[in-house]
Symmetry: C2
Subunit: 230 residues, 2 copies
């Protein structure tokens, strides 16, 4: 599906934008990413801010210039823009708080996870479906797959932060704990987290049922996300 390439590139650009800006000293202040110095360490803060900015604008350039129907390009831009807004809101919740004082911690955690991680994975799944001119039913099924794997991804990420070394996963670990961040393991323990990962993994597989063999790679991807160690 050659026509889906600009959409895939756009998603990767939005992902990279969020990592580069989240790593900034004023935000998560991370020096290490994938075993390499983060961009603001490598090229300075001004360049990291501007590079993140241009990744976002280029993402929308790629989509609007793709060789797809105008209606598809509009749908893709809407999906990606909403997911990007959601991710930024998730970072606001995660970095700056801003919840009501009495807000339930489980609800807060869900809010952070859904916005910060699941929104882009959900959008990536839906954007692929839009490129493939999926039916309404197919789009609904793939949306569910994206939402469940998106949540699962973040719980696995939170677990790795407390169970793996920085050398192994290529970025600082134990930071959530130190910062007193609201994470799944902190709220439900390691065992509870692993149970929830398994529940979501199964739900993701069920959402793929209607696609039969064709969705094999998506099932495999979900399984690999569940057991990854970095």
């Amino acid at each position: 599906m050659k026509d889906a390439l600009p959409a895939a590139a756009a998603i990767e650009l939005i992902h990279a934008f969020s990592l580069v800006h989240d790593d900034l000293p004023a935000m998560d202040n991370d020096d290490l990413r994938r075993g390499q110095p983060t961009l603001h360490i490598h090229a300075g803060q001004a360049m990291a801010i501007l590079a993140g900015d241009v990744m976002m604008s280029l993402a929308f350039e790629f989509i609007s210039e793709a060789t797809l129907e105008a209606s598809q390009r509009v749908a893709l831009a809407a999906e990606l823009a909403r997911a990007t807004t959601a991710m930024i809101a998730g970072q606001v919740y995660d970095t700056l708080g801003g919840f009501e004082p009495g807000a339930d911690t489980r609800e807060r955690l869900e809010l952070i996870h859904q916005h910060k991680t699941a929104a882009l994975i959900r959008a990536a799944c839906r954007m692929g479906a839009i490129c493939g001119q999926a039916s309404a039913g197919q789009l609904q099924a793939i949306t569910l797959y994206g939402e469940t794997t998106g949540l699962m991804f973040q719980i696995v990420d939170d677990l790795l932060d407390i169970t793996q070394s920085a050398e192994h996963i290529g970025k600082a670990t134990g930071k959530d704990e130190t910062a007193g961040k609201l994470t799944y393991p902190r709220l439900y323990g390691e065992g509870g987290s692993r149970k929830e990962i398994e529940r979501l993994r199964k739900a993701a597989h069920e959402s793929l049922a209607k696609f039969g063999q064709a969705a094999g790679p998506l099932g495999d991807l979900c399984d690999r996300m569940a057991i990854r160690t970095k």
Copy 2:
């Protein structure tokens, strides 16, 4: 033209995004904007970075959800994305340099002006024309108007930086001079700059000729931009 409102809001969001990020300590490090504390002074750097980010994603959300033809929405998104990329490139040139050592200073100055300021004014003009379903000839004329007024706007801005007080224009002045920035007055003097403003003002009016009376407000806007003192 009710349908043009989301496009107008999107342009204003991109403008605000660029101001908020350009004001950051790692960039132009400005404390004052329109007589008020800049956003990072008021709400902290993390919030200023995230607010700028979300302004950009919201701009593309607004456009993709507008009640216009899909082909118009795609054209609007493409215009705005390209202009945003150009503005960010302009900020890279302006803040970080990165020109070839032997590059001609006049060419450098033109490059900065065209990217940093003229690109968004040009896009704003073209996006209005797209909302109004302008013909190819009309679009060409309004593009020329946007390019000439855009360049004129920046030369006026550079002049104000050296001729007006911070109290009067509501932001720090004399900063270009101190930073040794490449500006029109520095290269061509105050007199040369005023001559160029007048040349561009006339060119902008000529570009509007084919619209007759209907373009009266655009002619007035250009005149006001030429003589503004803040």
